[in-house]
């Protein structure tokens, strides 16, 4: 059963066609990677799916429901968790506060004006739980601005998980990490999400990491789907080899 489907997405920017009829289907429980060289349209497609951009043409459905053109916050409340490229969440807050406000945000309960945040025991408990899953439970009172990059990324995942999502969307989750950190992050994500039963769609241009992490890979090239399949199929796909060797990844 396809959890998320994008059908025939077109999007252009002032004459430049960034996406030319891209279709994508993410099966429930899978780890789905969206790869391609820079400029291929991965981030554009990501932004379209997450509601930051409207497609010129095409449809997006989640659990069978149409979410094309929905604003980001509505999509988030449906059980999709989104994390963007440069993980810099809520620098002025403490770690716990950041995750707690995320939890309340997903629930749509942030219009409460007079009760203090610390009264929301359930949200705080959920936040602690999420932080525990990413290994940050000891840092709850640290200010987000003081966290090193690796911890920031974990915090980002915790924030994403605070809403108990079914689908997690990550844009270049490995950007800025060293080779060793990447392997760590890959293992961490894989284990965490399998345990939580969360489906994952992520963009990445580090092909090696993708081959190890994903069940299914969609390769974009110049706004079109070049190939789609299992890591084995992609590895052996001649067109993909040509595109990657030629354009560099």
């Amino acid at each position: 059963m396809a959890l998320l489907e994008a059908k025939d997405i077109y999007r252009s920017f002032q004459g430049f066609l960034a996406l030319a009829g891209v279709s994508l289907s993410v099966a429930e429980g899978s780890f789905h990677a969206l790869v391609g060289p820079n400029g291929a349209g991965k981030t554009t497609l990501f932004n379209v799916i997450t509601g930051r951009l409207r497609p010129d043409r095409g449809r997006i459905t989640y659990e069978g429901r149409e979410i094309t053109g929905w604003p980001t916050f509505r999509i988030a409340r449906m059980g999709l968790a989104i994390s963007f490229q440069r993980a810099q969440p809520f620098l002025s807050m403490t770690v716990l506060e950041a995750v707690a406000v995320a939890r309340l945000g997903y629930q749509g309960r942030t219009f409460t004006l007079l009760r203090p945040l610390r009264d929301f025991k359930e949200a705080l408990a959920q936040a602690e739980e999420a932080l525990q899953k990413v290994g940050l439970e000891k840092q709850t009172s640290k200010r987000v601005s003081e966290l090193p990059l690796g911890d920031l990324k974990r915090l980002d995942v915790a924030i994403a998980l605070a809403g108990r999502p079914k689908l997690l969307l990550l844009d270049e989750p490995l950007a800025g990490l060293s080779r060793a950190e990447r392997r760590e992050m890959v293992a961490f994500i894989r284990e965490l999400l399998r345990k939580e039963g969360v489906t994952l769609l992520f963009t990445e241009h580090d092909t090696e990491a993708v081959l190890h992490l994903a069940d299914r890979i969609t390769v974009l090239h110049q706004g079109r789907v070049l190939a789609e399949g299992s890591p084995e199929e992609i590895r052996q796909n001649a067109e993909v080899r040509a595109a990657f060797l030629g354009g560099g990844a």
């Binding site: 980001t72 988030a76 810099q88 620098l91 707690a100 406000v101 009760r115 809403g163």
Partner: protein, 310 residues
């Protein structure tokens, strides 16, 4: 807790002040409320509004028209002033918040000037340049000491409300939006809705301040809506420090004292204001409150310079 002592001090201060002192103190509290309403936007959301006078004036005129034309008792006009300003903020905010912050700033100024022009020209309704005068609230409300306590009470109410807001999920949502808007939206926070509500709250409190000022001054003129009135809230905030919770209130007091002194000696108050703002922006962006906090940090024990409150 320091907040509580601060208010107690103000309560005790009342009977010791002269008639003039009471008027000045009331005005400082009103300006303080007005500036804190401005700072709700500036500090928590990052929105810089140059049109707060629109709501200050709306509140003032609502009170004035109800009292002068409608014969309403003064206290009853206050909730209405609050509501009318909130409504005005809803309309103006709806149009202004949709865009980037810079457009927002200019738009709020533009709308405020529009309201000023309307108040100026609509002679039949607002009395135009002559304003609405002779607004002395009858009975006990007309007495300076009582009025001072009433203003103090409302100021405390406003401050407490803002304080609670900061600690609420709503306050955190605003901070999330300010820190990283995209990320906040990605966790389900409706940016437009939250910012609009903040703007409405800010406008409503500004309107309350305007109504109180109108009764204090016994008259309401179109200049309540003029852009220099918006500047007062901004200057008081910058002077006192936007980053400190009570900074705007402190700044308002200093501002008022400065104005009394400067206006007694020269008519070029805007020049002085502009120069002061220039210096603050260039050299002391954290304001007096921020400076005081920094100094308090450097003196671990013993003397604290000046009562900076909060």
């Amino acid at each position: 807790m320091r907040l509580l002592w601060f208010f107690i001090a103000l309560v005790v201060l009342g009977p010791w002040l002269s008639e003039y002192g009471l008027k000045l103190a009331s005005e400082a509290l009103i300006l303080g409320l007005y500036a804190m309403a401005f700072n709700l936007l500036f500090r928590q959301t990052g929105l810089l509004s140059f049109g707060q006078a629109a709501f200050f004036g709306l509140g003032a005129y609502t009170m004035a028209l109800l009292v002068a034309r409608g014969g309403w008792p003064f206290p009853a006009t206050l909730p209405l002033a609050f509501l009318v300003s909130a409504l005005g903020a809803l309309v103006i905010g709806f149009l202004s918040i949709r865009l980037s912050r810079i457009y927002f700033t200019m738009l709020t100024l533009a709308f405020a000037q529009l309201l000023y022009a309307v108040a100026h020209k609509w002679y039949a309704f607002t009395g135009g340049d002559n304003g609405i005068t002779d607004l002395r609230p009858p009975g006990i409300w007309g007495e300076s000491l009582f009025y001072y306590y009433a203003v103090l009470f409302l100021f405390a109410l406003g401050v407490f409300f803002l304080w609670a807001l900061e600690r609420s999920p709503f306050g955190y949502a605003l901070r999330a939006l300010r820190d990283n808007r995209a990320r906040a939206e990605a966790v389900g926070i409706n940016a437009f809705g939250h910012l609009l509500l903040a703007f409405v709250i800010s406008g409503a409190l500004s309107g309350l301040a305007g109504a109180l000022q109108g009764a204090l001054q016994r008259s309401v003129f179109p200049d309540y809506l003029f852009w220099t009135r918006s500047a007062e809230a901004i200057l008081a905030t910058i002077l006192g420090g936007s980053g400190v919770f009570l900074g705007p209130a402190i700044g308002a007091t200093v501002f008022l004292l400065l104005r009394v002194v400067v206006q007694a000696n020269t008519e070029y108050w805007p020049f002085f204001l502009g120069t002061l703002l220039l210096l603050m922006v260039l050299f002391f962006p954290k304001g007096l409150g921020g400076l005081a906090l920094e100094m308090a940090r450097k003196w671990p024990k013993g003397e604290r310079r000046g009562a900076s409150g909060s």
